[in-house]
């Protein structure tokens, strides 16, 4: 039996699948609690349903992208472990990088030919250790940090303070960093100011933004409010389609 066959064995599926199942149950518990709390606080259930529907449609396409990460790692780490990693704490950009670095430390390259069972268990441990800090910080500090963020200012609890503007500004900063990287990548990606870098991310972002403008116009001017729930997913789909059409 090859190492990859062992890594795809039923025992690993059972361990990883069991953990994924527990995480799914935790998500359901949080979902139900939040729903009940919302109702108890007198929140509009239509709004809560809308938040759930839009989040579900929003997450579909990125989830397929994450599935590709499982596929990419399955060649060297088998299917169950990447499945677990990308369902729990993992992040697409993180897993491959740490898996490669871990493989380097155990003296192999991340490939099915070089993989050994000990290399695998060491890589698996390092992948878990490197990304657990966010969870540790929430466990230790979240209560005090959230309390501090809410403050005692009654204006904040009704959303009238600077908090809301700060959150929007932070998000604008985040989007700017990514769009800036696409523009910079095109202009200087193959040498400073050569304008020969990859332009596909720019095109995709522009098409998605234009599609979003179209969806927003339909929702606001034609009063197709239901479209709001699907506008991000629809815009992303059109943006991604443009990448297929240009074939980059």
């Amino acid at each position: 039996m090859s190492v990859l066959d062992q890594l795809n064995g039923s025992g690993l599926y059972l361990i990883c699948g069991g953990i994924v199942l527990i995480i799914a149950v935790i998500c359901v518990i949080f979902l139900v609690r939040a729903w009940r709390a919302g109702k108890a606080l007198g929140m509009d259930t239509v709004k809560m349903k809308r938040a759930i529907t839009s989040s579900a449609t929003f997450s579909l396409l990125p989830s397929v992208g994450i599935l590709l990460g499982v596929l990419a790692l399955s060649g060297s780490l088998g299917i169950p472990w990447p499945w677990l990693r990308l369902s729990v704490i993992g992040a697409l950009h993180y897993e491959t990088q740490v898996a490669s670095a871990a493989a380097e430390q155990v003296g192999i390259t991340l490939s099915p030919e070089a993989m050994t069972t000990q290399a695998f268990s060491t890589i698996a441990l390092l992948m878990s250790v490197c990304i657990m800090w966010g969870m540790i910080l929430t466990t230790i500090f979240n209560r005090k940090y959230v309390k501090k963020l809410q403050g005692k200012d009654p204006e904040k609890k009704t959303g009238g303070g600077f908090g809301d503007l700060a959150m929007i500004a932070m998000f604008i900063g985040m989007v700017s960093a990514y769009l800036g990287s696409y523009l910079g990548g095109f202009v200087s990606g193959n040498g400073r100011f050569t304008f020969s870098g990859d332009w596909t991310p720019l095109l995709v972002a522009a098409v998605a933004a234009l599609a979003m403008a179209g969806f927003t116009w339909l929702a606001e001017k034609k009063h197709w409010e239901w479209l709001d729930n699907f506008s991000i997913a629809g815009s992303m789909l059109l943006g991604m389609l443009s990448a297929v059409l240009v074939g980059h």
Partner: protein, 232 residues
Amino acid sequence: MNTNQKMNSEKYEAYLKATHRLGRAVSLLTLVMLLGAPFLIGGLLGTMPDIGAAARGFLSVGLVWTVSSIVEYLVYTPMLGAGGSYLAFITGNLINMKIPCAMNARELVDAKAGTPENEVISTLSIATSSLVTIVVLAAGVALMIPLRPVLESPTLQPAFANVVPALFGAMAYKYFRKDVRLAAVPLLCMTLLFMFVPSLTSSTSFMIIPSGALAIGLSWLKYRKARKEAQQ
């Protein structure tokens, strides 16, 4: 504060307290499961992890991720609220999914930061998003053999390679139109920075910090000016 508001406030405080208790318990449980799994798998395969190699690996890549995790925690928790942050840090994929997803949901229902409504909506959003990912991945793993040719199809590769640009393009329109002048400054600064220092493109997730700080600083100046004008 009237009786109704006081009752709601008490209910909300009780909910938050219970959320922190539950959040800490499930985070610890996840931590134990994640750290225990490599040893359990090692036992099953007959070879335990090499702790020395794992420690060396941690020193070479882990420290960077530790710093990144601290920054992520400080920056994203205000966006996610209590319940949302526990769940998001358990289920991961924050930048490429959970944060934009929660922001989109609160935007749709017009929930304001720091309010009980925002806390509830954010938790509903992150829980739903996590469940969708879990279901898609589980279905994908179950159907891995028939799906593999489709997912690996050269025609569809460009689409899957550009999920994040598509997401941020759509979100850019949604957020930039709220304050075009505010958005122009960090966008211009970041573009120039990436043009002059192209190697930074591999550290885009770190560049969110200065870009976000700049946008928050500008927003604060605008807020203070508006408040002064309102007082006069």
